[in-house]
């Protein structure tokens, strides 16, 4: 019973939410109620997760493990943010300025690092994958779209060449839609398998 009960709850909740989603006008607020319950549970779990984060760093600090200096920085920053968050509300301009003026430069520097790594990695595509149809196709398409986006190729409006360029420029969108359709199918099957208790990640579901 202990193993079946979570599955039955998942099954009933899933079907109710699906029904509420498709028949919103007839659900009588049931969908909103269930989603609010879900958000509440997820929020509590999120808080527990932050507890894990703090626990890990406190443990690292007191066990004198490698990297405890950064754990101190994290814990102090967390405490300062928490205290200021209680003192000032999220609407406070001072609080937002203070946090964002630290957060945005840090995130920007990470993105700058990402750009450098992306560039260096792109030069190693052939080394990683070899001369396969995939890697050659990827490189060729990257070159073509880079060239098209530079804007060097100019054509008169309404000409066949202009139509062709518009068509070529829409190809990545079509490809992305294809991948998203495939992923939607995959997502649908994963959800249904959990709902139908064929997959039970919460126990005995291997």
């Amino acid at each position: 019973m202990k193993k079946i009960l979570p599955g039955i709850i998942a099954l009933i909740s899933g079907i109710l939410i699906l029904a509420g989603y498709f028949f919103q006008d007839r659900s009588g607020g049931l969908l909103v109620l269930l989603i609010n319950w879900g958000i509440l549970l997820i929020s509590v779990a999120g808080l527990v997760g932050i507890g894990y984060l703090l626990q890990m760093h406190i443990h690292r600090l007191f066990q004198h493990k490698k990297g405890r200096f950064f754990s101190i920085i994290l814990l102090v920053s967390f405490l300062i943010t928490l205290i200021l968050g209680f003192l000032f509300s999220l609407e406070s301009a001072f609080f937002r300025e203070l946090i964002l003026n630290i957060q945005i430069p840090v995130e920007t520097s990470l993105l700058a690092l990402l750009a450098v790594i992306l560039f260096s990695s792109s030069t190693r595509l052939i080394k990683t994958r070899g001369w396969t149809p995939l890697s050659i196709g990827f490189l060729c398409s990257a070159m073509v779209f880079l060239f098209l986006d530079l804007g060097f190729l100019q054509t008169g409006t309404g000409t066949l060449a202009a139509e062709l360029i518009v068509l070529i420029r829409r190809l990545p969108l079509a490809g992305a839609r294809g991948i998203l359709l495939g992923m939607a199918l995959g997502g649908l099957i994963v959800g249904l398998r959990v709902l139908l208790l064929l997959d039970r990640p919460f126990g005995e579901g291997k």
Binding site: G49, I50, R129, G186, L196, L198, D199, G203
Partner: protein, 249 residues
Amino acid sequence: MNWSIVGWMAIGLSALMLVIFSLLRKKPDTYSLRRSVSAEGLMKAQTNAIERGQPRLIAIGDQYWSRTYPGLGLHALTALPILADAENIVDGELSVSGGDGSLVVLARQIVQSDYVNGFSMELSNPRVRTILPGPTQLSYSVGLLYELGLQKYGSIALFGNYGPEAILWTEAVQSRGGYVFAAAGSIISQAVLLFNVRDLVIGESVFSTAGLLTSNEVDQTRWMTEDILRVLLILGLIAGVIMRLVGVL
């Protein structure tokens, strides 16, 4: 007929096929269209890392639920019991990392449940570390990079929802000789990981990763259902294009 009815039909048909194929339950390998060199590579790398006593990491994404990729968080959790098996759990070198508190809490529950089921109901303290390096996308990325720098990881497996920052982690592991497997979901992450991850699963195959890692009859039902749906979708798209061309739509 409106889109709600079409949605119900798609979901109902999928559910029906899953139930029917599960009841029929063919013998293993009767529908073995799926073999993945990437998945086999991950299993080998995990085994090698265990033999060498190296730490291993399973990253399950930075979001449990996202509007664009709603199934990815759940998928990462369904793949977790397969990767966190008894062999992987006992040496205490496995870490599971997520960037969303709820995802990490659920992952911890799964790992503990696996441990109890595999060993004893009396034991409930697996040595698997479930960590939350940061609660937002970029703080998770920075925190994970820091974690990866602390130890020399033998293997890292990426599941779930990520952005392009995933390439930073793969770079950090590969530069120290570690192995990387990625079934990371978002289109951007798939595109950037193509550069430097040899064992990469993309598109709808991401959702089949659990089945690719350990093929059994339950996964065959999923593959059959997915294949039939795919064929129906292709036929639908072709029919839609033809109807548009002749002016019906």
